[in-house]
Symmetry: C2
DNA sequence: CTCGCCGTCTTGAACGATCCAATCTGGATA
DNA sequence: TATCCAGATTGGATCGTTCAAGACGGCGAG
């Protein structure tokens, strides 16, 4: 077992002082080129790697970003988080940061966890996925000047903190326009009850697209909690009245339920879901696809912007979704 | 902003020395009860938290465990990892460890990443998900005496290193027995080509269960790469010959394909998948369910056993899966 | 010629915890 | 009263890095 290679080993090897080695790493421009090259040579020859703990102790920065991994709620939508996390890890890596996972069963515990992570690990930043109106977590973090980004807009105060989001309204609008373009007029919408920012946004996209096309949306929409069974129930309900010929859903779960409700109906009712989850891919359901990798990358961009003191970076990013067309619309 | 609370602050507050505070934290039994209580009181009054970087610098241990998050291969099976990671985070947390994510596109890069993580962050251990025959990664880690556990057996040398796995053969056997018990005789199997430990294991479970029931499995099995389209193709192929009345599949992807192939056939062919992914839940597919939370917990157990020098813990854990019955069988 | 400045490099101290060896305390024993 | 001992406590050194301040030589301006 070779002994540990520290900055002192490198310094000895390159016949300079510790500080000069440190400067080569952290402020290369103040070191003369010839010296710099000698040091860099020594670094790679010895396989030196800066010890993060020691660095952290001095600078107070851990180069660690915390992200929450949730208890796989629905199962269907859980995979969105999975893809987001992967993107986050990849981009953070490239920026010299690492992603630390944490979980919590409720908001209060989550805040305790923040305290813990900050206190013992000195985390640099947090990434929150999904926030609600008046979220206590963002408030807590903001109060303490802890850098953080949310994936999802703070609907009640868009300028409260940095965020990255996908334009849900644009997604449902795009889906609706696609259906209109293929000849449908009675395009329905199955979504969530009013009050959730995300749900309202997605419904608005559908409504606006219909209005723009001169179609009256009255009677063409239903609201419910998320879930396959609920989607099926509401779709049957829609079919019972003046049946729509197509439907846009606020989630793949709802869309999957709708698909089950229309089985066997001819001509087939077109269905478009939201999130492009693996389930949608599996059953060939058309769906609005969120650019999750891109979203994760932007989260990291925003954070590094704040962390590296670059205040010129924008603090809000709204990404455009795309339509994954298969064969249900 | 209150100034930082260090071990010295606590010591002053409790009118003892730093070392005594440290002893209260790391070796409580050698401190007189009265003193200990005074120190503990000071700790909670001041909200003191041991600084991990400082501790790590002295002890060389980071209390960090690395886990890989993969690029969501299939999408369907990706969610298995998601659930596993959640369990890992939760259990590690309880044991005083944190989970750090990493990714890599290929084995070579992954090993470079190990080197990096060990060098700069001094990671305590690794959790690998899925290993192949003669995996270079496990070899590299073992060579350097880095503690690690795999979720998935090293099929070529079961004693090579600690592992946790789910008994796939038991799962397919259970599925097969269930089908036999409900009156099926011609129970087919759609799996992966020979050579993958996991695939061979799952096929063996089916075959053994048939043998035990006195059913000849000849002509009742097909092999292919994973995927929905492949599952559908092979199911049609099976139907073309002496049609089976039920089929057990090595994955939910294959099972989903099989389901599409048998649509409209009466009496319906029973289908059972493997992994109990969200897709299976969504479409009501019966599936063999792996106890992922339990598996993650056991991984942490094994690691802490090694890390805390407790050599009496077992090094292999084989868990039993269960059958999630819905309505396709 | 001297002074100050700049670029380059070096030295000592500090971050907050743990380990080690030395010291203190109080009670039992000679 | 002096001695000893075990248990509890203390101060100093240390981990590897960065920060702050200073040293050194050369150069241009006064």
């Amino acid at each position: 077992m070779a002994e540990k290679v520290t900055i002192a080993t490198v310094a000895r090897h390159a016949r300079v002082s510790r500080q000069t080695v440190s400067n080569v790493l952290n402020a290369p421009h103040i070191v003369r080129q010839e010296t710099r090259e000698r040091v860099e040579e020594a670094i790679s020859a010895l396989g030196y790697r800066a010890n993060q703990a020691a660095r952290q102790m001095r600078t107070g920065r851990s180069r660690l970003i915390a992200a929450r991994i949730e208890p796989t709620r629905d199962g269907i939508n859980g995979s969105v988080l999975d893809r987001f996390l992967h993107g986050l890890t990849e981009t953070a890596d490239a920026a010299g940061y690492r992603v630390l996972l944490y979980t919590a069963t409720d908001d209060e515990r989550e805040i305790t966890t923040y305290d813990d992570l900050l206190g013992t690990y000195e985390l640099d930043a947090f990434v929150l996925v999904g926030t609600k109106y008046g979220d206590p977590r963002t408030e807590w973090l903001a109060d303490r000047d802890v850098p953080f980004v949310t994936f999802g807009r703070p609907w009640d105060a868009l300028d409260a903190h940095p965020w990255v989001d996908v334009d849900g309204a644009a997604g449902t609008a795009q889906a609706t326009r696609h259906l209109l373009a293929t000849g449908h007029r009675r395009v329905a919408f199955i979504g969530w009850p009013s009050g959730s920012g995300v749900g309202d946004d997605r419904r608005a996209g559908w409504r606006d697209a219909l209005h723009a096309a001169g179609v009256d949306p009255t009677g063409l929409h239903r609201e419910t909690e998320d879930g396959i069974a609920e989607g099926e129930r509401l779709m049957r309900d829609l079919l019972g009245t003046e049946a729509p010929t197509a439907v846009v859903c606020a989630s793949d779960s709802l869309a999957l339920g709708a698909l089950q409700a229309i089985r066997g109906i001819d001509p087939p009712v077109a269905v478009i879901g939201f999130d492009d989850t693996p389930v949608a891919v599996a059953v060939g359901l058309d769906s609005v696809s969120q650019p999750l990798g891109e979203a994760a990358a932007r989260c990291v961009d925003l954070l590094t912007g704040v962390l590296d003191g670059n205040h010129e970076t924008p603090t809000h990013v709204l990404l455009q979704p795309s339509l994954a067309l298969r064969h249900t619309a």
